[in-house]
Subunit: 232 residues, 2 copies
């Protein structure tokens, strides 16, 4: 019986393929069902490669966690960056993105919770979590400040930070409970719900985030040089 034929791939490609297989398996089988054998089978390689590329299974899982957190934050940030228009529109887009596909996904939340459960037991997990959380807070602060300025609200660093902490809590909680979808309400109410809630949290006039057209009118006397581009 002949050996399996194989390709030698670059370090980056192999590592990524193993990491993605790890996430796939944990999402599908849970942490306890994601054995080295199943993961490597999913990646189309044999077990030895784990040791070769990561040293140990735990180290591979750590890398998978960091990869997931990075993806989540990057997706959310990108969604805000890609939105043109007023700061209100950017913030609203960011909030809504967190509560719609693909960001709000049961599989992703499940993965995330599984990893969070290890933060306490593994310093590396704790560091990955802290970095991801800090990054998320920073993005939020950056989005919040211009909105506060636009509406003449207080916008000191401390105030922006506290708003970011609260808003992040709101996002996290709704994201998690919404994605797990216990069936107590329809998931699609959440984007509107969070923009409305954010308006009140930041003490913006009603509709500032949830009704962009109205908000645009009321904001026009401040930033009349900007014009909203209609999506095709």
């Amino acid at each position: 019986m002949s050996r399996k034929t194989f390709q030698r791939l670059s370090l980056d490609v192999r590592r990524r393929s193993l990491i993605e297989a790890t996430l796939t398996c944990i999402a599908r089988d849970g942490l306890h069902g994601a054995s080295v054998r199943r993961i490597t089978e999913e990646a189309g390689v044999t077990v030895g490669l784990v040791r070769h590329y990561f040293g140990s299974k735990d180290d591979m899982i750590r890398n998978a966690y960091a990869y997931l957190v990075g993806q989540l934050t990057a997706q959310a940030s990108e969604s805000a960056r890609a939105t043109e228009g007023t700061p209100e529109a950017k913030l609203a887009s960011f909030l809504r993105a967190n509560l719609t596909k693909p960001n709000m996904d049961e599989q992703t939340v499940s993965l995330w919770a599984t990893f969070i459960g290890r933060v306490r037991h593994d310093p590396d997990f704790a560091e990955i979590h802290r970095d991801g959380y800090r990054e998320f807070l920073n993005v939020l602060e950056t989005l919040i400040e211009p909105v506060l300025i636009d509406h003449g609200c207080p916008h000191s660093v401390a105030i922006c930070r506290n708003h970011a902490i609260a808003l992040n809590g709101l996002i996290d909680g709704l994201w998690m409970e919404g994605a797990l979808n216990s069936g107590l309400y329809a998931q699609d109410i959440l984007p509107d719900l969070i923009t409305g809630a954010a308006e009140r949290l930041l003490e913006l006039p009603a509709g500032a985030l949830s009704a962009p057209d109205i908000a645009l009118q009321s904001a026009r006397h401040q930033t009349h040089s900007e014009q909203q581009s209609k999506p095709s």
Copy 2:
């Protein structure tokens, strides 16, 4: 070599002792480190009892999850019920209780996240989660409604429910990120932060929840028959 001496305990006591040992082990060693042997050693019995009382390890863990959720909800509800005074004081007490010890505890959050990670893979876990979530929402609605009425705010069933969903998200998110304590801010800012945030979410006058004395004055013209009892 003689056998281990033992006591025959009642069904309830044994089951609870095994359940608590299960939670202790998962909190200490993580889900993967909580083997039947370690759990039974923690409980001071031998491995055979798991089969005898629960049938399987998975079934024992399911029971441990239900036990944890029940405790969490009961503690939170009790903290609100025990507070005498205005509806505002009750709601504020409930909110603050969720973000202070013993409710906000890294070990508990870690346990909770670990279990949440299994909701997707086990229908029994999903049911336990849904029941706990529904119960929490109901408590919140019950606390929110009289506050809205006191301040002359709209308080339809739908409005109360939406407020409860948002407030629950806020609680969950802050509770989780706060307990994991990434060190980005001091944990003890959270009780004040959430009462302030809740005021704005519910569109109450500033201080209605965060500064009970001032709130009492402003509410006195509505509910002047009530009097606050000073804590000893």
